[in-house]
């Protein structure tokens, strides 16, 4: 089975993401407000009545396949994450040091967060269990938002506006940049020299990206990105990485046997004469791959070319789409 189609692994990844946002982003802010005496437990409990209006639960189709249900969970998780980001922008990011690496237990198990076990013996059960768990946490987040309104820290209207406006960046940003670089050598040269500065001129803020580097694939070298220590990724430009990017199975295999891993996990065969180079990131420098322009794409404009660039090709685990294939889609 191709890794990216492994449903159970996908489900685990949704659970891990949810746990990350709960333990490292949502709860530290709630704890801080409680410990500073700015809100009380009673405030939270009495807000429950107004909490559900922020994230109305989507209807669940009884005919949905397991794949569709996991995809729906992922969308719901997206709402959870956006809600936390909105709450954070009202509260501020000055949280207690649960966000520190030591305190989070990255280096010392004594500090490590405990995670709730999501039960279920079958995939079907686990999807349902995780869904219930996520809804509980959505309720907590809704309570927090309601408290913020009741305290007068943000107006209801403003909060609604922020929740709706907060559309996350997507990989299509990268696709567009690659297409432009294929067409415009001067732009490409600037991009290779100083990606962050060049993209800031185009309106990407990149405030939390210390440095950005674009790696150009050629006939002689093919780049693949990974972050083995955590999950560094050009989030501000491309949005969230695919779920498998954060999985140990990918991280461990890609640095050990890159060429073989590309074939086994992603069905990508890099020609023998092309070097496969893995680029392991740290949080200081974020990388994006500029794949080679597909054959048969002469004469296409920027928008058409951008449609040939896939998320996987920006990481280096997939190919761009051949124009003939794109037409048939």
């Amino acid at each position: 089975m191709v890794h990216s189609e492994d449903l159970d692994a996908h489900l685990r990844s949704v659970e891990e993401d949810m746990e990350y946002w709960r333990t490292k982003r949502l709860e530290p802010r709630v704890f801080r407000l409680l410990r500073k005496g700015e809100i009380s437990f009673a405030d939270i409990i009495t807000s429950a009545g107004g909490a559900e209006r922020f994230f109305p639960a989507p209807p669940v189709g009884s005919e949905a396949t397991e794949e569709e249900r996991v995809a729906a969970l992922e969308l719901r998780l997206g709402e959870f994450i956006r809600g936390i980001e909105v709450a954070s922008s009202v509260i501020g990011s000055n949280v207690l040091n649960e966000e520190g690496r030591d305190e989070a237990g990255v280096y010392d198990a004594a500090f490590k967060f405990g995670h709730r076990r999501v039960g279920g013996s079958s995939t079907d059960d686990r999807i349902s269990e995780l869904g219930r768990y996520l809804e509980e946490e959505m309720l907590m987040l809704g309570c927090l938002l309601e408290v913020l309104v009741r305290k007068g820290w943000v107006t209801d209207a403003r909060l609604e506006e922020m929740l709706r406006a907060k559309s996350p960046p997507r990989y299509e940003n990268g696709a567009r940049i690659v297409a432009r670089a294929w067409l415009d050598p001067a732009f490409k040269a600037k991009l290779m020299d100083d990606a962050k500065g060049t993209l800031r001129e185009l309106g990407f803020a990149l405030n939390r990206t210390p440095k950005l580097v674009v790696l150009e694939d050629t006939d002689s070298v093919h780049h693949v990105i990974v972050c083995t220590l955590c999950s560094c990724y050009p989030y501000e430009l491309l949005g969230n990485p695919p779920w498998w990017y954060k999985h140990d199975s990918y991280k461990e295999a890609i640095v050990r046997e890159p060429r073989k891993t590309l074939v086994e996990m992603f069905k990508l065969s890099v020609p023998g004469e092309t070097e496969v180079r893995v680029v392991d990131s740290t949080s200081d420098v974020r990388y994006m791959v500029m794949p080679r322009r597909p054959e048969g794409s002469d004469g296409l404009g920027e928008e058409e070319l951008a449609r040939l660039v896939t998320q996987d090709s920006l990481i280096g685990v997939g190919e761009t789409i051949r124009p003939t294939v794109a037409e048939a889609r």
Partner: protein, 94 residues
């Protein structure tokens, strides 16, 4: 001031961090490994979320393939304090 390196220079990634602790800034597979500097990123500042203190200039190091591996190479970003010069040549697989 931490030491500066130049592209093309041979380096070894330290096993230990300051004060004899394990070097947790580099992944385990790279500790003690030799390689070649391929890119200099300069001082990277303004990454308060990850590290408040400055760690000196940052470099991409193209690691020598481990013996018996399939020969593909990994480029890893390492700050100067965790690098040392070495005379060891590149291994044959490169």
């Amino acid at each position: 001031m931490s030491k500066e390196f130049t592209p093309g220079q041979r380096v070894r990634i330290k096993r230990e961090g300051s004060g004899g602790t394990t070097n947790r800034r580099v992944p385990e597979y790279a500790r003690g490994v030799t390689g070649t500097i391929v890119r200099s990123h300069g001082m990277v500042t303004g990454n308060r979320h990850d590290h408040a203190e400055e760690w000196g200039p940052l470099y991409s190091v193209l690691l020598d393939p481990s013996p018996g591996s399939s020969g593909e190479r990994v480029s890893l970003d390492v700050h100067a304090p965790w690098l040392e010069e070495t005379d060891a040549g590149a291994s044959e697989a490169s």
